[in-house]
């Protein structure tokens, strides 16, 4: 268990980083399905159609969580109570549901 304690950090951070990127609409790249191409810059919707940012949010969450889990000392990771690993995503789910309520309430 201790050998892979850093997995706890990765799992706790992934959802948080993903949510921060989606909340602020940050993305290092976007995919334009109508053009079938990735772009580092925002293209006008009239020419390129709608963009997909989800891929970029996943990549950002993966890269940042991986870097953090490797940088944080293993001893710290071992000290994280196991309960935090499921409590953090439960809180995150509640935040996401609260944020997304605007789709259902006018």
């Amino acid at each position: 268990m201790d050998r892979f304690a850093r997995f706890k950090i990765f799992s706790m951070l992934f959802g948080i980083v993903y949510s921060v990127f989606f909340y602020f609409n940050w993305s290092l790249f976007q995919y334009y399905p109508a053009l079938q191409k990735f772009s580092r810059v925002n293209l006008p919707i009239s020419d390129a159609g709608p963009a997909i940012l989800w891929y970029a949010w996943i990549v950002a969450a993966f890269a940042i969580s991986l870097a953090a889990s490797l940088l944080i000392p293993r001893k710290w990771a071992e000290k994280i109570p196991p309960g935090w690993v499921w409590i953090a995503p439960v809180v995150l789910v509640l935040v996401i549901l609260y944020y997304e309520k605007h789709w259902f309430i006018r």
Partner: protein, 149 residues
């Protein structure tokens, strides 16, 4: 089609594992379908569930462009904001679930220590809820044209 088949397999495996945490109830005989369903050797499901979940993410990611161009624009034309919201939540749950996989794997590693039983249970239930939500929303959106003529 492959996306649905993988989803059903994942749903079955995760539901089996999630049910394994249920207490054996004396109301049913040991040979009842309820007790047999929950008495599977759940650790054997773990790696399969992780592979299926990753496969689902890849397949979902490949289908996403078609959804964005065809389905979402239809939903917007029909002013079905709620349906769009359901999909938004689906994509967030898929991402949060993806991030949970390393911890899920870690807490299912043998020997299954009793002090981690609660974490194991709640991580499994969380993943199962995400997969159930995503399956039901996916099916709903897939059939939405028939539901709203």
């Amino acid at each position: 089609m492959l996306h649905v088949l993988v989803a059903v397999t994942l749903l079955g495996s995760l539901t089996h594992q999630a049910f394994s945490f249920m207490r054996r109830t004396p109301r049913f005989s040991p040979n009842s379908i309820v007790n047999r369903y929950r008495s599977v050797h759940s650790p054997t499901f773990t790696n399969t569930i992780i592979v299926l979940f990753l496969l689902q993410i890849v397949l979902g990611g490949l289908l996403y462009p078609r959804y964005r161009l065809d389905v979402r624009s239809t939903l917007e034309d029909l002013q079905l904001r709620g349906a769009n919201g359901l999909f938004e939540i689906k994509e967030h749950f898929a991402a949060v679930g993806l991030g949970l996989l390393p911890a899920y794997w870690l807490f299912w590693q043998p020997p299954l220590l009793p002090e981690y039983a609660a974490t194991r249970k709640y991580l499994t239930w969380l993943l199962a809820s995400f997969v159930w939500w995503n399956f039901l929303v996916g099916e709903y959106l897939n059939n939405i044209k028939g539901l709203y003529p």
